[in-house]
Subunit: 170 residues, 2 copies
């Protein structure tokens, strides 16, 4: 069983999830990475310059028209091995628990990850990218052009993280 | 009927969507904005400094612990009024059609929007933010801390957009 399914650590809090879902998603492709176990994944994407492949379902091939002109792409994907009911989490390398919405942990009500990647090559429906840290085979939800004008905020601060005095990511 | 459901423009291409969905999401709150019709929404979020309210379901209140230390937050929300089957789109203000994955249009297989907002205030489960451009009542999917170290790429370029020589967003 996957690590995130295996229980609750001291200080963590789970809630009862809503009785029903509200909407549905398609997996529109898969992400191919070198990492097959959670422990192998880089702690954060900046630690790795590994090339990964984003493989889009041929059904949606035409949707890629023009993406080759983007230097960076926002990748949304589904972290399908994570539990969804924790609101307070205590990652092993942190001293105190934090709220799910103050963390980038895969454990969240909707396990949707958002990662900015450098786009190196587009070959049909296969995109070669740098900047992912997910498991091999992770389901793809969406690709979006990254607009520096609205997406880049270089002076943004995460206060609780800054005060920790290191640069690892949640 | 909503604009995005009303038909296909010349040059646009629709595909048959997959026969089944693959996963499900919860709406974990709502976004309150001043805009009740698509035409009222700002063309892009940088055009507006309107304060909007992100209201999180009380069930998930504890998940907000620590978010008040963030200057910026990544908001994921569900654009529930958009059709999902277009792969080539011709927004009215553009000369030629472009691929869905090269656009930030709400029309996409999974209508999940990602917006970076400035966090002004946290009052219980109500967050006051600046930087949204969506319709009032839009369902909320997720909130994440915005880390400049991985999320900010100020020199990113969207080639097709740059060559248009203006600054409006798709």
């Amino acid at each position: 069983m996957h690590e995130e399914n295996s229980g609750i650590r001291p200080g963590e809090v789970a809630v009862e999830l809503p009785p029903a879902f509200d909407a549905q998603v398609y997996f529109i492709g898969r992400i191919l990475t070198p990492w097959t176990r959670r422990d192998d994944c880089p702690k954060n994407a900046r630690e790795s310059d590994a090339e990964c492949i984003v493989e889009v379902d041929p059904r949606f091939a035409v949707g890629l028209t023009g993406i080759e002109t983007c230097t960076h792409v926002l990748v949304l994907y589904w972290m399908d091995q994570a539990r969804r009911d924790l609101v307070l989490q205590a990652p092993r390398h942190y001293a105190e628990p934090r709220g799910t919405f103050a963390l980038r942990s895969p454990v969240r009500p909707n396990p949707i990850a958002a990662s900015v990647v450098r786009l190196r090559k587009v070959d049909g429906t296969r995109l070669t990218v740098i900047g992912l840290d997910c498991l091999n085979g992770t389901p793809l939800l969406d690709l979006k052009p990254y607009f520096a004008s609205t997406d880049a905020v270089p002076d943004a601060v995460v206060g609780w993280h800054k005060s920790r005095g290191d640069s690892s990511l949640p």
